[in-house]
Symmetry: C2
Subunit: 244 residues, 2 copies
């Protein structure tokens, strides 16, 4: 019933335009009563994005499950969580591309989408804040700031990759497009993945996460030819246990 | 007239609630005709945020003016542009704090605010994209990605600092609160300011922006006691001319 309604609604939006379609039109097309529509969707806008609620719930569960595992890089985890949204779009490329084009034409849908995006961002930020503040007994304002900035960066990168895919008409690989965009955030904010071939070997390794460099301490680092500097720097951070 | 209407509207929103106040109530309080209201404000929501259009225009002009100056760090420039928003809020702390509390209660105002924030973000991203892509004949998708991610980070940091100030009842220093938050973005994404006291001295300095570390090359770095590692890492990047 829910899917039938969403499909009827979307077909009508494409045929007549979003503003020109009423809930009465939708229920007539679907062959059900008016109250059925509102049982499933609070508004016309919700029928255009029928899967976001489920995806938000999935994302929350995904993060919840990984929250206790301190071995995971929180930045990697939120990037992986953002890919749940990619998967939702990629499951039905034709629908996603048509909706993308429709949303660009209808201000009300863009506003709705902004609210949804904001909810994903808050979900990711909430997970990061917990990791940066609660779990470490850390500094509340600094942890919250860092969490909000990284969540915003993840969402912006994800949406950049998703839009590239939508603009390709859904023909390219959605995951690859999003992963490429998220790599910028992982590089800048992440701990650095274990599985990445190490471009540099930092000599001064330590497990103490909160240490600073002591006076007169010298960092000696050897890097292979051609290692990009950001990888080298990331490696130094990782070896020194700098997480901030 | 515009100010009289905005003030009448806001007083009524506080007295009766946003949803319970009609445009008729507002014009009656202001002692003008209904059409006068819509001459100044497209909707009730706009009357709650009467200065954003002016501030957006100011931001656009501010960025336009600085666009040709390649000596400016684009990240610093967008952070400075974001402070125009801080200034708008700080000009009238009491109004800003009351509006913050009102907005938290009214979903329609939160949605409106999201749209406004998104317009600031796009304005900042547009400036960055031009600097990263057009001015350098650079890679379009990479420049646009970088621009969008940094603009999102700037907006998230700015709003974190602004909210801290609003939560303090407007009693703290708004600029200081926002600057503190933006410092995280400047540190991570900016070229590094000349005026920041250097926490570390990297020995291997070069002007070549695109170099990698050569095989067998050793980075020797001395840092003063207590220097936070991110500052040390930033210094290495800066001395090695790493810009990416």
């Amino acid at each position: 019933m829910r899917e039938v309604l969403a499909e009827a609604a979307f077909q009508l939006f494409l045929e007549r335009g979003f503003e020109q379609t009423t809930v009465d039109d939708i229920v007539a097309r679907a062959g059900v009563g008016r109250r059925s529509f509102f049982r499933y969707f609070p508004s016309k806008e919700d029928a255009v994005f029928p899967d976001h609620e489920r995806c938000l719930a999935e994302m929350t569960a995904f993060l919840e499950e990984r929250a206790p595992d301190a071995s995971l890089d929180p930045v990697d985890t939120v990037c992986d969580a953002a890919r749940l949204v990619t998967r939702m779009y990629a499951t039905n490329p034709e629908f996603s591309v048509q909706r993308y084009l429709l949303t660009r034409e209808v201000p009300g849908l863009r506003t709705y989408e902004l609210s949804v995006v904001r909810r994903y961002e808050r979900t990711l930020a909430g997970f990061l804040r917990r990791r940066y503040v609660d779990d470490r007994g850390g500094d509340e304002p600094e942890g919250a700031l860092r969490a909000e900035v990284i969540a915003a960066a993840v969402v912006a990168a994800h949406n950049n990759g998703l839009r590239s895919w939508l603009r390709s008409g859904g023909r390219e690989d959605a995951d690859a497009s999003v992963d490429h965009a998220l790599a910028l955030v992982r590089t800048v904010w992440g701990r650095g993945s274990e599985s990445t071939p190490s471009p540099a070997t930092a000599v001064a390794a330590t497990d103490d996460k909160d240490r600073s460099v002591d006076e007169g301490e010298v960092i000696v680092m050897v890097a292979p030819r051609g290692a990009p500097l950001w990888k080298v720097v990331q490696q130094i951070e990782s070896a020194l246990g700098e997480d901030a």
